[in-house]
Symmetry: C2
Subunit: 202 residues, 2 copies
Amino acid sequence: MSENANDPRIVRTMHMLREALLALMEEQGFERITVKDITSKAGLNRGTFYLHYADKFDLLERITEEMMQGLRQIAQTFDPLDLVMHESRDTPFPFTVRLFEYFGEHARFFSVMLGPKGDPAFSVKFKEFMQVHLMDKFNEFHHSEDYVPVPWDYLMAYLISAHLGIVQYWLEQGRDYTPWDMALMFTRMTQLSPIQSAGLKK
Amino acid sequence: MSENANDPRIVRTMHMLREALLALMEEQGFERITVKDITSKAGLNRGTFYLHYADKFDLLERITEEMMQGLRQIAQTFDPLDLVMHESRDTPFPFTVRLFEYFGEHARFFSVMLGPKGDPAFSVKFKEFMQVHLMDKFNEFHHSEDYVPVPWDYLMAYLISAHLGIVQYWLEQGRDYTPWDMALMFTRMTQLSPIQSAGLKK
DNA sequence: TCATTAATCAACACGAAGTTTATTTTAGGA
DNA sequence: TCCTAAAATAAACTTCGTGTTGATTAATGA
């Protein structure tokens, strides 16, 4: 395993291995892929792979960590004031718009990883991210002593999974709406009941 | 590969292989499991495995198909009249209750397959099931010419993923509520907005 | 230009896959 | 109870991918 030098050969090699892995995951899913597959798709020697990564799991982890890092960076720009400002208006959170832009920029990765050939552990990572950076901001509104129609933790699981589903579907459909449109959908679906969202009531 | 005889030896062997696979999936996830692992956990000869299954994928597929068959059978008992009868009442659909009972009976399988060590393709299968047997029943209410706050297909993706998330969370938590409770949550969350479900409004 | 280091190439031991053949064990009817 | 068909075992075997090593070639950048 090499140090993270600025050697352009290293950068180029690692990039080609990453691209090859994503391409193969789209075709076969992670399970069936061998290191031999990856290197031959990348046009590199098999031995070269082991100069940079321990195994295919390691490679996937590094890519994943990079993407999660990007998400965390966006999350830092999140201003809780947005929640108040957009509360009752029919406008999307800028933060959510930025997230969808990021998904779009890395559509290849998210599409594969959140799709049927992907890694369910990544969905979990992604849900944890939403829990920490989106849902926990609402915790101040939650008082356990009050009666609630649905337990708080189940409501969180419901919302997080619903939002994940929207992202997945959007990527599956080839991103047929703009990030702005998608963020607006999020706002509406949070404020309306499913029946209202469908336009069946009120 | 053998025919589906009633030979008790076959039944016993196949059952042991299935149980061993599920146990191993809980520990390691499907990816890392070898046929050797499965047979040694089952206390069987490795060659015996190949008398019944082509490979570990085949084994998993057969288990999955059996579970999906069980779901389809429950779906047949579904009476659309229930939807009308329970529309504005605070009671669960008997159909949904029955589904949660089934998940509970096969908690081992669903917990693994829908969890972080599972198979994302199974989640897709499961979503398709919900789409066909739950969501499509609402299609008659949908008129594409009307204005709707959220596109119909995105709303479906939202609801299906949300419901899947609830099932996943329930299994993760060790089924801390009864199937009846869970079905009631479904009803409430469909009729209320997330904000109302949280008890923050009205 | 030259020292450094990445990438290639070939060889290696190892382990699991999947197959085959012979042998032992088991089920269940005569 | 005995006997036969078939399932399970055991042991070999080939094939393939893994991860490592050592020698060689090619690219980088000071």
